[in-house]
């Protein structure tokens, strides 16, 4: 059930670094319970746009609206507080640490003993076991290091973590690029499940076929400008590839 008001709206965003204009007058929005594919060639401005959305740096011009309200996102922490979570390819989980510790990093539940606060390991354990079984990952114990999980399992745990902590918008940066075929499908399935559970997702990737299978809409960036927002019904995956490969005008003409 898609609410027609967008979850996040970025209006007229521009950003320059010295003489390089990374983004120029970009409008970008993501609806509720929607998977948005953010695509474009290298240097198109995808990562700059996302960094603005997640508070790494502010835009030069433009506004951001979240759940209808105008917001200023000044740090990654503020983005997180709003409910925007990001899963970067290698930066989602720390392999040497246990699944449990990773899951709750920065948000560990505590027990108070006098003036001291200790991590509530039992609670962490129980919660993570539950989440893992929901995802369908089988490990002996949540105390096991993340290193024993496969790439796909790690992505799923990161997504499950975002879900658990009530994220509203999840940004996935190249979630399937290092995965096997089977693992890719598991992750894509989980993305759809996350959407069913109320999450909106921005899916950034170079692999158009992967994102095509789960996305509702696509935003194509080219040289810092938005060149198209397309519904899945309007285009095929090959069309999108052509647009990116040849540039908007040529690609569109070839349709």
């Amino acid at each position: 059930m898609n609410n027609h008001e967008p979850l996040v709206q970025m209006v007229n965003i521009s950003k320059s670094f010295g003489t390089v204009q990374a983004l120029k007058n970009v409008d970008f929005d993501v609806g509720r319970q929607e998977v948005m594919g953010l695509v474009g060639d290298n240097g198109a401005g995808k990562s700059t746009l996302i960094k603005i959305l997640t508070g790494v740096f502010p835009p030069d011009t433009g506004e951001i609206y979240f759940e209808g309200k105008k917001v200023e996102i000044r740090s990654p922490k503020e983005a997180r507080d709003l409910g925007i979570e990001t899963v970067y390819q290698d930066l989602a989980l720390i392999p040497l640490m246990s699944i449990s510790r990773n899951f709750f990093l920065g948000r560990e539940p505590v027990i108070r003993v006098g003036p001291f606060r200790f991590m509530d390991k039992r609670k962490m354990d129980v919660t993570v076991r539950q989440v893992l079984s929901e995802i369908g990952i089988n490990v002996r114990s949540p105390e096991e290091p993340v290193a024993i999980l496969s790439g796909g399992e790690r992505q799923s745990v990161a997504i499950g973590r975002a879900l658990h902590f009530g994220a509203k918008l999840l940004i996935l940066d190249e979630p399937t690029s290092a995965l096997s075929v089977r693992e890719t499908h598991k992750v894509l399935d989980f993305i759809l499940e996350a959407k069913d559970r109320g999450l909106s997702i921005i899916f950034i990737t170079h692999n158009i076929y992967h994102v095509y299978s789960v996305a509702d809409r696509f935003t194509i960036l080219e040289h810092g400008r938005k060149v198209a927002t397309l519904n899945k019904a309007e285009v095929s995956a090959e069309d999108i590839i052509e647009i990116i490969r040849l540039g908007y005008k040529e690609g569109k003409c070839r349709q």
Partner: protein, 335 residues
């Protein structure tokens, strides 16, 4: 080779799965086994090794090294090194000695020594974090700098302080009890316990593991990695300074060479105990075993009658063997 865990199925687990799981959670086990082997070895070959005095003496050596090693372990787990601990130990001891000689109340001199140590640690951390120069290099520099200051201030000569009766402050720091046991052992065990609880059972400890495991990932997930590192640099230097004062409380004399070479022994003990050089893993219990092992080796070699000039070689071999064993154990457990 390698296990691929997929949902619902566990393929090709190592034969002793329970052992592997347990080993993964307790990296200090390798050090413990090593300690037992060394202990047994010397008990058999050195006649008076098992006496109370002998063990108390080993514990005394381990305590001072261990206090420094505990601080370094904590810092290494967050992904940094502190090579200046030996110089800090010397500086702190010298401050303690000079203030005592000048007639200051010992408690104040002690506090000043600790404050200066913490300050040096803060400087180490601040420089490392701001300039992004590897801490190996920055603390190599500060190690030489503070050693140079020590030499310049003292002109190369020792500083001694001879009170008429042993002051209470010195008894608290390093007094004897139950024969040859010393208060330094209590300081050591207390510090190990407290630091381990912080590391393993608090949010800060989680942040330490994360910062060392993958600093960028930790950052992205909201951990204040710079702050964690600076705090740990302060802890490392503070404990080194404490060890220097504890040592002075017994010997009453400090020369500017005090603490020279300590940093490598402290790091070796931590590594033997399962702390990774690359950061992100390890704990204080492992350091406890590592320090006891290192303390035991030299003592045992003397009592077993080994030729004096062979100690260095033996200690070196043991360090390498211990690390190889630990690494292989860890790799096997992760399969």
């Amino acid at each position: 080779m390698g296990v691929r865990r997929t949902a619902g199925r566990v393929k090709n687990p190592p034969r002793f799965l329970h052992v592997a799981v347990w080993l993964r959670r307790h990296p200090e086990f390798g050090a413990f086994v090593g300690l037992l082997i060394v202990f047994a070895g010397f008990s058999l070959t050195a006649t008076r090794f098992l006496t109370r005095d002998s063990l108390a003496s080993i514990l005394t050596v381990a305590a001072e090294l261990g206090i420094v090693s505990a601080g370094i372990t904590f810092l290494m787990i967050s992904g940094e090194f502190d090579l200046s601990v030996g110089s800090v130990l010397g500086v702190a001891a010298m401050i303690f000695a000079l203030t005592a000689k000048a007639g200051w109340p010992l408690f104040l001199g002690w506090i000043l020594a600790l404050l200066v140590s913490a300050g040096i640690g803060f400087l180490n951390g601040f420089i490392t974090v701001r300039t992004r120069i590897p801490s190996f290099i920055t603390t190599l520099g500060t190690m030489m700098f503070w050693r140079g200051i020590l030499l310049a201030v003292t002109g190369g000569f020792p500083v001694s302080y001879f009170p008429t009766a042993t002051p209470t402050m010195f008894l608290i720091l390093n007094g004897r009890f139950a024969g040859q046991f010393r208060a330094s052992a209590l300081w050591f065990l207390g510090i190990i316990l407290i630091l381990n609880v912080i590391l393993v059972h608090t949010r800060y400890g989680n942040a330490v593991y994360a910062t060392g495991g993958n600093r960028d990932a930790a950052r992205v997930l909201g951990v204040a990695t710079d702050r964690v590192k600076i705090i740990n640099f302060v802890i490392s230097a503070l404990l080194a300074g404490l060890a220097g004062c504890i040592q002075f409380a017994r010997f009453l004399s400090v020369d500017p060479m005090r603490g020279l070479g300590l940093e490598l022994e402290a790091i070796a003990a931590a590594v033997i105990g399962g702390t990774l050089l690359t950061g992100g893993a390890g704990n204080l219990i492992g350091t406890l075993f590592g320090v006891l092992l290192v303390g035991m080796v030299r003592s045992g070699l003397v009592q077993a009658g080994a030729p004096a000039y062979w100690y260095q070689a033996f200690v070196g071999v043991i360090v390498v063997v211990a690390v190889v064993v630990n690494t292989n154990l860890r790799r096997w457990a992760l399969k």
